[in-house]
């Protein structure tokens, strides 16, 4: 079925607005999957190309889900699976951690290393949901809608992710 209303992705302003709203979230999602910024952006752009090519067949209300599904498919087809290790922000934004003694700083460094390693060991499904919640600050409902999952499924993945992280870092 073709779209006939004015909110049509084949119209450039609509397409661009859609792009601007979702490109960051989509790129982050790709990053949580592949762990590489350049590759994540490439996958995301490729998915937007596909949306443009199929603009007449995609309903605007479903376009977000289509975008994330496409990224997932492109990722499965093209990317060599590797360990997803993300870096930390350089600037520590928490003021209360600015003047800590060296021992604490060392501990913190160790903890960060353990945590990013543990996150890399999560399953892809757990990691993407966990990081969409933590880094992107998305609510479960939003994640569920984006990935075409039930809220229950998102909650389950969050629990599993947390339990796994807790288990991998026993002495916090």
């Amino acid at each position: 079925m073709k779209n006939s209303d004015s909110e049509n992705l084949c119209k450039e302003p609509t397409y661009k607005a859609f792009y601007t709203s979702y490109v960051q979230g989509a790129k982050n999602f790709a990053l949580y999957k592949c762990g590489d910024e350049a590759q994540a952006l490439d996958l995301t752009q490729e998915a937007f190309v596909k949306i443009w090519q199929n603009c007449a067949d995609i309903n605007l209300s479903k376009a977000k889900t289509y975008l994330f599904t496409t990224i997932n498919n492109l990722f499965l087809n093209a990317v060599k699976h590797q360990k997803v290790m993300l870096n930390y922000e350089k600037n520590n934004t928490k003021e209360n951690r600015s003047f800590q003694d060296p021992e604490y700083i060392l501990e913190e460094k160790e903890f960060k290393a353990k945590l990013s390693d543990a996150i890399a060991n999560l399953t892809e499904a757990q990691r993407e949901v966990f990081l969409m919640n933590r880094i992107d600050g998305k609510k479960y409902r939003e994640i569920a809608e984006t990935l075409d999952l039930s809220v229950k499924a998102v909650e389950k993945r969050m629990s599993q992710a947390l339990a796994s992280l807790r288990e991998q870092i026993p002495n916090i």
């Binding site: 661009k16 792009y19 601007t20 490109v23 960051q24 790129k27 982050n28 990053l31 910024e37 952006l41 752009q45 490729e46 937007f48 190309v49 596909k50 443009w52 090519q53 087809n77 093209a78 060599k80 993300l86 870096n87 930390y88 922000e89 520590n92 934004t93 928490k94 903890f111 960060k112 945590l115 990013s116 996150i119 966990f130 990081l131 919640n133 933590r134 880094i135 992107d136 609510k139 479960y140 909650e155 969050m158 629990s159 947390l162 339990a163 992280l165 807790r166 870092i169 916090i172």
Partner: protein, 305 residues
């Protein structure tokens, strides 16, 4: 996990102040808070959406307009998922008037993209035409003169038409090569159907169909993962010398004068597509021939006894 419901609500920012106070008193709170806080600090680069949109527009143009000859990027060859076929033959039999036309000169390789996202790498001295108008009707057909490696996106029937025969696939990758009196289809992955005149056969991975001097034969049990020319080499298996020299002319943009030797004799082996001296030695030495390079003309003669 203890307090699972509470923890989930907490991460979703849904706890009431009272619930939060109570949760902070639980023994696990500190550990979870540390995990939750530090994982927030993991970095994801912020995009300049205006800039990245401009980049996207460039990409969209290359998809919609004529495929341009770009620097070959063989990255996707490694991810070959479906089928690879090689075909060879060469009469200038078709030049679509209103189709997309991609051509390579001697010594060139070009990569191009079809309207459905399928990708093609053309070997030297080849041309590919498609009639874009027909693509919407689900009729994916390209005309090939020369040699090419295809990565076809999944979809309806995809046909490579050559003067020697047709090659058909359903969403796959393959390489097609055609020359005068020679036609070769090599299936690397997936399944490919080859039709020549009234005959047709199916090729499975590791199988090659070859039509030479009026007879066709099927060879099985081949193990190559992709055509040698993608690694800048030309390989031959019991092929008349004449065709080997033709390929060399195509790769190096030279003229080969070999009237003094029997070019019907068969040659098995290969040559580098990047080093002419080396290439000539690889072919001439085993066949007891000598060569002489003068400007862009190479004269081949039998070794003096």
């Amino acid at each position: 996990m203890k307090n699972e419901k509470l923890i989930l609500k907490w991460l979703n920012g849904d706890l009431t102040p009272e619930e939060l106070e109570a949760f902070k008193k639980t023994e696990d709170y500190k550990a979870y808070a540390k995990i939750a806080d530090f994982s927030k600090e993991l970095k994801s680069e912020l995009l300049d959406t205006e800039q990245s949109y401009q980049d996207l527009e460039k990409r969209l143009q290359s998809v919609k307009k004529e495929p341009k000859v770009i620097k070959p990027n063989f990255g996707w060859v490694r991810y070959a998922a479906a089928a690879v076929v090689a075909v060879l033959i060469s009469t200038w039999f078709f030049l679509g008037s209103d189709g997309i036309d991609t051509k390579t000169g001697f010594g060139e390789i070009a990569q191009t993209q079809l309207p459905d996202d399928s990708e093609v790498i053309l070997n030297a001295g080849s041309s590919l035409t498609i009639n874009e108008k027909n693509w919407d009707t689900g009729n994916r057909k390209v005309n090939l003169n020369g040699e090419a490696f295809f990565k076809v996106t999944k979809g309806k029937k995809f046909t490579v038409h050559t003067s020697a025969g047709d090659v058909q696939v359903l969403g796959t990758q393959f390489n097609v090569k055609e020359r005068d009196s020679y036609f070769e289809v090599h299936c690397y992955e997936g399944r490919v159907s080859v039709t020549r005149a009234t005959d047709s056969l199916i090729l499975e991975p590791g199988e090659r169909y070859r039509f030479l001097n009026g007879t066709g034969e099927k060879i099985t049990g081949l193990t190559d993962a992709k055509p040698a020319w993608l690694d800048k080499e030309s390989l031959f298996d019991a092929v008349p010398l004449e065709l080997v020299f033709e390929e060399m002319q195509r790769q190096f943009d030279i003229e080969i004068e070999a009237s003094a030797v029997d070019t019907r004799q068969l040659y098995s082996g290969g040559f580098s597509n990047t080093d002419l001296q080396l290439a000539l030695q690889s072919v001439c030495i085993p066949l007891n021939l000598s060569y002489e390079i003068k400007d862009a003309v190479v004269k081949i003669s039998p070794d003096a006894p």
